[in-house]
């Protein structure tokens, strides 16, 4: 453990010694490199289809976990109905690619229109986020949990009753459009956008609601607006994840979006750690990959898996990353160096002006 830490520090020092420009380009370069790998490795047969499938699930789960983390981790609510939003995105995106686009004479462009379908699916899901956002003005915690649960059940029940889209028999005919590269892109975009959001004043508004809603409204936070924003954004990304899901499985049915799916995502969020996008990435990855690795256990997989989960929570009660964040996910201007330089700037400015005695600095 110590050797590992020492090694990591060496790597870190080495990285710090690079010229600023190179450091600035490092993460983007890495992201591009991964994108190329995501494109090339499946083609080259280095990753077999099973591994690709698992990677795609990991990616979809990252999007789900990160977006739910916004509500449950950053805002401190307890939503147990995320799969409901995912369902909306999945069905809307699928209906677009299977029915609407061909009917509008766009059949041959479907692979290019895939992102449009996803975005529209996300938008539809985001809109339904309002169903949960409005009750959240007046209620919190476990009561809101029941609202989200009810929402999840309502979505499922409605889908079961619309025969035009298959009812319980499900909806199919989607092309296999979701690839490792596509999922990768969506994961990067999701994490990037969510990161930007949480480090903005809106993000701080979200956090302040978790910390103390009354105090938050008493320092000028419009809690209603923040709640709407949060639920809509989170549902939007859940919808995107749903669209991606539909186009890898090529079959969706209401059962796939039951409460069980929602609790899966819940586990990923808290396993990874609340209030941390890095945590959601890790949580979704660990959970998905671990369960795949346990496959040989057959029935006992779901005995061993939960046991591991319980042990993990006992030893890391705040999840793997609880409230900490990977450095590269913190915007540059929010890091300590940047803050320090502003402080330095202020100090110089003040020294230039007349010195003011501060009441408290008794030393």
């Amino acid at each position: 453990m110590n050797a590992l830490r020492a090694f990591w520090n060496r790597v870190r020092l080495f990285y710090e010694s690079w010229p600023p420009l190179l450091r600035r380009l490092f993460v983007p370069a890495l992201l591009v490199l991964f994108f190329i790998l995501a494109l090339v490795l499946p083609q080259a047969g280095v990753l077999n289809l099973y591994q690709q499938q698992v990677l795609i699930y990991v990616g979809i789960n990252i999007i789900l976990a990160a977006s739910l983390n916004l509500v449950n981790g950053y805002m401190g609510e307890f939503s147990v109905g995320h799969a409901g939003f995912m369902a909306v995105g999945a069905y809307v995106a699928s209906i677009l690619t299977v029915w609407a686009f061909p009917r509008w004479g766009l059949g041959e462009y479907i692979p290019y229109l895939f992102p449009v379908a996803l975005l529209l699916g996300g938008a539809a899901a985001g809109l339904t986020g309002l169903v949960v956002a409005f009750p959240s003005f007046r209620t919190r915690g476990d009561y809101l949990a029941i609202v989200t649960l009810a929402w999840n059940m309502i979505v499922k029940s409605v889908l079961e009753n619309i025969d035009a889209i298959g009812g319980p028999r499900g909806f199919m005919g989607m092309q296999k459009l979701t690839t490792v590269a596509w999922v990768y892109v969506w994961v990067v975009v999701t994490i990037y956008l969510l990161r930007n959001l949480v480090y903005s004043n809106y993000g701080r508004g979200i956090l302040s609601i978790r910390e103390d809603e009354i105090a938050s409204s008493l320092v000028s936070v419009d809690t209603r607006k923040v709640k709407i924003t949060t639920f809509v954004v989170a549902s939007f990304f859940a919808g995107i994840a749903g669209g991606l899901f539909a186009h890898i499985i090529q079959f969706i049915n209401p059962r796939s979006f039951s409460i069980l799916k929602s609790t899966d995502v819940l586990v990923m969020v808290y396993l990874g750690g609340i209030g941390s996008l890095g945590g959601s990435i890790l949580g979704a990855t660990v959970y998905t990959v671990l369960l795949e690795l346990l496959r040989p256990l057959q029935v006992w997989r779901w005995v061993v898996g939960p046991l591991l989960l319980v042990l993990l929570m006992i030893f890391r009660p705040r999840g793997i990353m609880g409230m900490r964040e990977w450095r590269f996910l913190v915007p540059r201007e929010e890091r300590s160096q940047a803050i320090a330089s502003i402080k330095e700037h202020i100090r110089r400015k003040r020294e230039a002006a007349a010195p003011v005695p501060v009441g408290g600095s008794s030393d």
């Binding site: 004043n201 008493l218 936070v221 600095s361």
Partner: protein, 255 residues
């Protein structure tokens, strides 16, 4: 015209009349103290002004705006900020974030601008960051800017709460027992601080306090509440010699 004008303010909690017929006219720049026994309704008055509770009866006008029926965040943006009797910081957030949140109502960029890091977002965030750090620097908290608020010692937490209220850029500041849990040395510092921010930020202040040194030391006018009723009003000297106040609040051996 007074900055704050309260008429016939009354509030019931179920059957309990916490505040009854409370009136106040406060000129800009004035520092008024509210004292009274525990449970007299002092904090409730603050809660009514800041929109936490909606008054059962009465009117509150601030700078020409009727505050009754407005949401707390709207009231804050009109220029009223407060601190709390028991500290209510955002415990798990950094000191800097605690202060920056208070800029929420003045944020002009919208959510998409934030998500896509548009120029107006970057500009405004840079501005907020600098303003917040400047304030922290003024309040002597700059070195702790990146600490988690809960890790601050108690005295600094009180100070941060005041800083956060100031970051709302209020004209009227409501302080609820800022000296609670402080020893005499710390209290002296606090009084110094209140005088200084008052002048520095051109503030009008209402102060609730049980520490007579503070109330008598810095308030220009004092209102005394008991069981929700205003039982006395006047200068510190008048209050200290008022028999009703002595009986209900100060006790026989009062100075």
């Amino acid at each position: 015209m007074p900055l704050l004008r309260i008429r016939g303010l009354t509030h019931f909690f179920g059957g309990l009349r916490a505040v009854h017929d409370f009136n106040l006219d406060q000129e800009p720049g004035e520092l008024i103290g509210i004292i009274g026994p525990n449970g007299a309704g002092k904090t409730t008055v603050f809660n009514l002004i800041t929109g936490v509770y909606r008054p059962t009866e009465g009117e509150i006008f601030f700078n020409g705006h009727n505050l009754v029926g407005k949401r707390p965040d709207q009231i804050v943006s009109l220029g009223i900020a407060r601190t709390f009797q028991t500290i209510r910081l955002f415990k798990n957030l950094s000191v800097l974030d605690n202060v920056r949140i208070a800029h929420f109502a003045r944020t002009r960029y919208e959510v998409p601008a934030a998500m896509f890091r548009m120029p107006n977002y970057l500009r405004e965030e840079a501005e907020v960051r600098e303003r917040a750090l400047e304030l922290l620097d003024l309040m002597g908290l700059a070195d702790q800017a990146e600490w988690v608020a809960s890790s601050l010692p108690y005295g600094l937490q009180r100070r941060l709460e005041i800083a956060r209220a100031l970051a709302c850029e209020p004209r009227l500041l409501l302080l609820d027992e800022p000296a609670a849990g402080m020893n005499p040395g710390e209290i002296a510092e606090l009084m110094e601080l209140i005088r200084w921010i008052r002048q520095q930020f051109d503030l009008t202040i209402i102060l609730i306090e049980h520490q007579m040194r503070v109330v008598m030391g810095i308030c220009e006018r004092i209102k005394v509440l008991d069981f929700g009723e205003t039982i006395a009003e006047g200068t510190p000297a008048e209050i200290q010699s008022n028999p009703r106040v002595i009986e209900a609040y100060l006790g026989e051996e009062a100075i």
